[in-house]
Amino acid sequence: MKNVFVSRNACGGDFSHPLAQWATKVAPTAVFAILSIALVANAQAETVFVTLEKDNALAVVDPIAGKLIRTVEIGQRPRGIIISPDNKFLYVAVSDDDTIKIIDAETLKETGRLPSGEDPETFALNPAGDRLYVSNEDDSLVTVIDIKHKKAVKQIKVGVEPEGITVSPDNLWVASASETTNMVHWIDTKTNAIVENTLVDPRPRALGFTADSRQLWVTSEMAGTLMILDVKTKQLVKTIKFDVQGVTADKIQPVGVVIDKDRKRGYVALGPANRVAVINAQTFEVEKYLLVGQRVWNLAFSPDQKRLYTTNGTSNDISLIDLEAQTVTKSVGVGTYPWGVAVKP
């Protein structure tokens, strides 16, 4: 009796039986398709870059596997980090080297430097990816850098100790927060001049525009609040006071803030409270506080916004949050004093 399940390819056998045909034609295609899907799925897995303030290094993490892949030397005291819109370059503020380094996101080699001014910490990139706005805390300045020509094109005088800075997705506004003046400065991107200032709660730290550029979310480190400003009127719409059960008020120091693209939820890192607050972006209610590592500082979404990554300064790790389940799934040790975080698809 002929064994229908064996295709005798190597022996020059017959392939007339449908099963043999399936085995020789369809199966390899199916295997190829499965492998391709697997490869695509693998390619979709993002890479997380974390600056390590004390290790003078950049940590590279595979968040899907939950593993630190490698650590590379980057310069003295790296802090702010942003990836270019085409995901080819990383910009890293290397504070004690007084520069912003341009790093190839694939090879992690330095390809250039930008004239950031002294002690750069935080900076923002415009949506086109050709302008960088840097806060110069000690000089109370915002420096505007033309990336293509690697030149500072303007310095804008702002309040005392500017820290948080961001550009609106519609590229109309740069918002800069001065820690000591307690103000948000609205800079027109066309003229690079301040057109309005909004007084906010003490020690504003970080800012984030909603994807529709209609709201600006500002965190206040000292008041333990999040303020929602209306971009049109530049006025305060709502103040949210954080209150974590079992944590004293002095430890609730909101820092990093991100809002999802559908404006369903916003997330605020609460510093030494070791929590990330989950805020309903429609009702402005705090839905949940998620426990992460110590002194949680900055936040970044995965490209599909299904996960959120947090840098935990004093516990030397990053936490991975599953946003669909609203749970912290893992904390991965990365090195000493993780500060900024950027994600490459």
């Binding site: 079992g246 944590v247 070791n274 426990l291 992460v292 590592g293 936490s319 749970t327 912290v328 904390s331």
Partner: protein, 267 residues
């Protein structure tokens, strides 16, 4: 036919225990109140007590109530095991033990049936407790709720066997207070139910060793890992061996010719 006979006897014993448990509503509630008080009151006071280290099976930072949940499940089973032993003493005093023991089946089988009955009750309690904890935001991956079942069975049997062994030593119901003081409390507090081993090590090496080799600790760790879909082989083997040892000793203890019964003048 003979197998059916065995099954009927075991089912009868299990049914009697479950029926007794369900109808004694106070017992059902009080069995749940104890771990819930620990969860809602005790754990609330120690929310940030665990400090920094992330220990397996956990992969990130957890609140104290999340940590002690498997320990409190262990507590349910520990108290249940002891309660079963208490009921054995009661049965002996009331004379119903005599009826059980004259049943024409091997003694070990009757004891095992008694043990299965007690374990069944404790598993029921543990799942009700887990359901309440779920609404308190203590949620494990769904697979964990399946994996925990065999773990609960083994830990329940082990702690039940310990209870059986103890009951073979206790002649009167009044002596049960001694079990509380000398067995339940030391076993519970010298374990990983309330604090992880590394935390115990910080304060005392002796306590650390006692906690590590405490069978209750191993049972709790087995439950903890199972709840997160993981298998802790060391804890499993340790619990299994402890069960076999306790069970063998209990069978000897209940043997009228060799065990403690003779010395105490029988049931």
């Amino acid at each position: 036919m003979r197998l059916l006979h065995y099954w009927r006897a075991m089912w009868g014993i299990i049914w009697r225990e479950l029926w007794r448990f369900v109808t004694q509503r106070e017992r059902f509630i009080s069995a749940l109140v104890r771990p819930l008080v620990w969860l809602f009151v005790f754990a609330a006071g120690f929310r940030a007590a665990l400090g920094l280290a992330i220990t397996p099976p956990y992969e990130t930072y957890i609140l104290y109530e999340v940590y002690i949940t498997p320990g409190l499940i262990g507590m349910i089973q520990l108290f249940n095991g002891m309660q079963s032993s208490l009921s054995m003493v009661y049965d002996r005093e009331m004379g119903s033990m005599r009826i059980l023991m004259v049943c024409p089946l091997p003694r070990w089988f009757l004891l095992l049936s008694k043990l299965m009955a007690g374990t069944g009750v404790s598993i029921l309690q543990a799942y009700v407790f887990l359901a309440i904890a779920w609404f308190y935001d203590i949620q494990a991956p769904w697979q964990g709720y399946l994996w925990i079942l065999p773990a609960l069975l083994l830990s329940g049997l082990m702690l039940g066997a310990l209870g059986l062994l103890l009951s073979s030593f206790i002649k009167q119901l009044e002596n049960f207070a001694g079990v509380m003081n000398f067995v339940i409390f030391p076993m519970f507090f010298m374990s990983t139910a309330l604090y992880p081993l590394w935390k115990i090590k910080e304060s005392s090496a002796l306590l650390y060793n006692l906690a590590q080799y405490n069978p209750f600790s191993q049972a709790v760790e087995m439950i903890r890992f199972a709840l997160y879909g993981q298998f802790n082989s060391m804890a499993f083997i340790y619990t299994l061996v402890a069960f076999v040892v306790f069970m063998a000793a209990a069978i000897i203890g209940y043997n009228p010719s060799k065990g403690m019964m003779t010395r105490k003048g029988g049931a």
